[in-house]
């Protein structure tokens, strides 16, 4: 990364209200993922430069937390809940359906960039289990057939 780029990203972080305190590392990663879609190698470099720590240190923290992705996300974001209530109501089935239907596993993106998929621990809608979240909307009481339909809707949209 060139010095100019580092300065540019530093200004961007400043403008967003960050001060350079080490405690800001996780909020910075969250901010970067929100604005850029994922944590790219350039992002790690920019954050490390801004906080004055090594890139390895940034990776250490980023890789610990489930929220951060290191792959470019797809157009549609699919989350399958695998919380306890959803497990009892067949959440694993839904995850398998994604795998069989879209041929991607947890944390991956389809080659055509249409979908990315993540398994999550709990979306907190347990009474509506099993649930799937697509692009921020939660679909309740899902099964394989319903999920296929939802995916189809988004594929065409």
């Amino acid at each position: 990364m060139t010095v100019e780029r580092l300065i540019q990203s530093r200004d961007e972080f400043w403008a967003a209200g960050f001060t350079g305190d080490l405690a800001e590392l996780i909020p910075l990663l969250q901010y970067y993922q929100e604005t850029h879609g994922y944590i790219s190698p350039e992002g790690v470099e920019a954050i490390a430069g801004f906080l004055g720590i090594s890139e390895a240190r940034v990776y250490t923290v980023a890789s610990f937390y489930a929220q951060f992705r290191f792959q470019k996300p797809g157009k549609n974001h699919v989350f399958v809940c695998l919380g306890t209530a959803c497990h009892v109501q067949g959440g694993v089935d839904l995850a398998n359906e994604i795998h069989e239907h879209l041929h991607i596993r947890n944390g991956e993106t389809t080659p055509d960039g249409q979908f990315d998929f993540k398994e999550v621990a709990c979306l907190g809608c347990c009474a509506q289990a099993a649930v799937v979240e697509v692009n921020g909307k939660i679909y309740a009481k899902m099964n394989r057939e319903k999920l296929r339909k939802v995916l189809k809707e988004h594929q065409h949209a």
Partner: protein, 632 residues
């Protein structure tokens, strides 16, 4: 101090809700949204336009009975609020048309009302809180959830928010801690440590500045008590933090919130903004000379960050790994300074304690476990949702009265989330307290209650919980890192039909080592599901290992489906859903199932109206299982 502010808020709120137009309340918390509340809301708006009627629409939080979502309430001018359940867009149109044009409240469709007894007589509608699920409950923490508008400060203020803070200012820090001691509130995160002692320790600790942290990183899968509180009444949590901050002499508070709860984060941020605008946060709050700031920090998705030292590490921008205690966070916490960390629910309870007094709080619950606690009741009960009960109530009351029993016979209840234990039917008469749960090999935990019936396999559940603990183990200490792996691998072996007799011994040893030697609560408790289910459901493990049979028809390698001819009515429902055309039979005749084609997708079992499709040991195709005997 706040009289003027509150009076103005009351006026504004009354203008908004009790004038000559109808008010429509709709629950749009996350669970309501999942059930379709936003579509219903859209339908309400359209219907109002079509009818040419004016009405105020207020979005409220979650009131608890999730199985009734989406919930819509209507208050016609001068009348009590009437609640309607499972309101689809079509149903919303129908109800609105009747209520707003003819004033007919459709008593047959109403779930309940929020008015007084006279309204019950005149309207023929039962009080909402008399519903079987709600009647045995005692609502203190959730008192306002689902009633007030969580995004409207006037609504909160006019219903008594920050009254506890006012009293706290008159009591002074020592007085507050004394009041907390009288109340006997214990940590609602699950450990049950007396809250006042934590506050006392943080108060006497030397070192400045001090911090207050609210642990809202509700990571338990199957638990949503904190989410409902944060979405339904965020000011209660803020007020609790303010009182805590004043008591210990802190200057700054941080709400560590789970990023998977975007609505809760949004509402909390909004509430913080409202508090700043009204002078309830910032400098010299209510002319008391007390300065306090609160900010939100979003967690990044790590279950272990619910542990207090891991949470602090995460706040500091490190990997969320626990460290040994002491020193406790009250001595050396965030940035090495004294830090008071309490669970969201603990903070949410504090305002009521200060408002009404410690003695009042003690009238609920038992002598050593005072007060109420929220639980999320999920799984196979008839009614599911968020509940609040006085501690000391028995598990049986929760499952049978509040939950309304199960469809298949009850088998087990998992208390305390993934780190808790699995308790069988003969322990149902145990009162729920911190001590009794621990004695049975479970924990109170933050309050997840998962009910399992005969269609849930205990071995599979143990595998699920251990798998969760394994993937969430931070890897810092060996007993937890390696132990969860051993348990997970062994259980996977057993559910796939490759279990060996010595596996049970291996698991027992690993589980006990983890329990004794792990660094933090996660590792110590991660083996609870295994230890408790081995203790109470050993027979099921042995069936899996010796007979290669899963009696609950869950572990796919260990059973095959069969249709009981004496039960099958030949309705053909299963034939329609079978993706592999494995089921054949004449109409009105008993059907047969071709096990060579069956992929055990479970679709037929779900649609069969007479429970004729059951699991049998592989290769037998004969015997009935306990599930079959129990089903009718």
């Amino acid at each position: 101090m706040l009289e003027k502010l509150r009076l103005e808020a009351q006026q504004r709120w009354q203008e908004r809700t009790s004038h000559n137009q109808a008010v429509i309340y709709i629950g749009t918390a996350s669970c309501g949204r999942a059930a379709g509340a936003l579509e219903t809301l859209q339908a309400i708006r359209e219907t109002l336009q079509d009818l040419g009627k004016e009405a105020r629409i207020i979005e409220v939080g979650c009131i608890g009975p999730c199985y009734l979502e989406p919930l819509m309430d209507i208050a016609l001018p001068g009348l009590a609020r009437v609640s309607y359940a499972n309101v689809t867009p079509a149903k919303a149109r129908q109800i609105l048309a009747a209520c707003l044009t003819t004033g007919d409240l459709l008593p047959g469709k109403a779930a309940g009302h929020f008015g007084d007894d006279s309204f019950t007589r005149t309207s023929g509608i039962q009080p909402f809180f008399d519903l079987p699920m709600l009647k045995p409950q005692q609502r203190i923490i959730l008192q306002k959830c689902g009633i007030i508008d969580p995004e409207d400060f006037d609504s909160a203020l006019s219903t008594g928010a920050y009254k506890g803070l006012e009293r706290a200012f008159t009591l002074g820090p020592e007085g507050i801690i004394l009041e907390m001691q009288q109340a006997g509130l214990r940590g609602r995160g699950g450990a049950g440590f007396p809250t006042f002692r934590k506050w006392q320790a943080a108060r006497t600790a030397t070192g400045k500045p001090k911090y207050v942290v609210c642990n809202a990183d509700e990571g338990d899968p199957g638990a949503f008590m904190n989410r409902a509180l944060l979405e339904g009444d965020p000011h209660a949590v803020l007020e609790g933090m303010l009182i805590g901050g004043y008591a210990i002499g802190a200057r700054e508070g941080i709400v560590y919130m789970r990023a998977e709860y975007p609505l809760a984060v949004k509402r909390m941020c909004k509430a913080i903004g409202q508090a700043y605008n009204s002078g309830l946060l910032g400098c010299n709050i209510c002319n008391s000379g007390f300065d306090f700031d609160i900010r939100v920090q979003e967690g990044a998705g790590a279950f272990v960050c619910g542990e207090e030292t891991a949470l602090i590490a995460s706040l500091e921008g490190l990997r969320g790994m626990p460290r040994p205690r002491p020193p406790y966070p009250t001595d050396r916490g965030y940035k090495g300074k004294p830090t008071l960390i309490n669970n969201t629910e603990s903070f949410g309870t504090v305002p009521a304690v200060l408002r009404e007094g410690g003695e009042w709080f003690r009238q609920f619950g038992t002598a050593s476990n005072p007060g109420t606690k929220t639980f999320s009741l999920v799984g196979k009960t008839r009614y599911t949702g968020l509940i609040e009960i006085p501690l000391g109530m028995t598990l049986r009351q929760v499952v049978e009265e509040i939950g309304g029993g199960t469809r298949f016979p009850f088998k087990a209840i998992q208390t305390g989330g993934p780190l808790g234990g699995c308790l069988p039917a003969d322990r149902l008469d145990t009162p729920i307290t911190y001590e009794t749960m621990r004695e049975l090999g479970s924990i109170m935990g933050s309050g997840g209650l998962i009910v399992m019936d005969e269609s849930t396999c205990n071995v599979d559940m143990a595998r699920y919980f251990v798998g969760f603990a394994c993937s969430e183990s931070c890897g810092n200490c060996t007993p937890c890192r390696v132990g969860t792996r051993i348990l997970k691998d062994t259980l996977e072996k057993i559910v796939s039909g490759e279990g060996e007799p010595e596996d049970l011994e291996v698991m027992q040893r690993a589980a006990e080592t983890m329990n004794n030697a792990s660094l933090c609560g996660l590792g110590q408790a991660a083996s609870n599901p295994v230890i408790s289910s081995l203790k109470y459901f050993r027979q099921e493990y042995e069936e899996h290992i010796h007979q290669k049979f899963c009696r609950s028809a869950v572990c796919t390698e260990l059973f095959e489906y069969t249709i009981l001819p004496e039960r099958c009515t030949g309705c053909g429902a299963c034939v329609k859903v079978c993706p592999e055309t494995a089921i054949h039979g004449e109409r009105k005749q008993a059907h047969t199932l071709d096990t060579t084609r069956c992929v055990k997708c479970n679709a037929c079992v779900r649609v069969c109206p007479v429970h004729a499709i059951v699991g049998a040991p592989v290769g037998t195709q004969a015997g009935t299982t306990r599930l079959a005997e129990a089903a009718i």
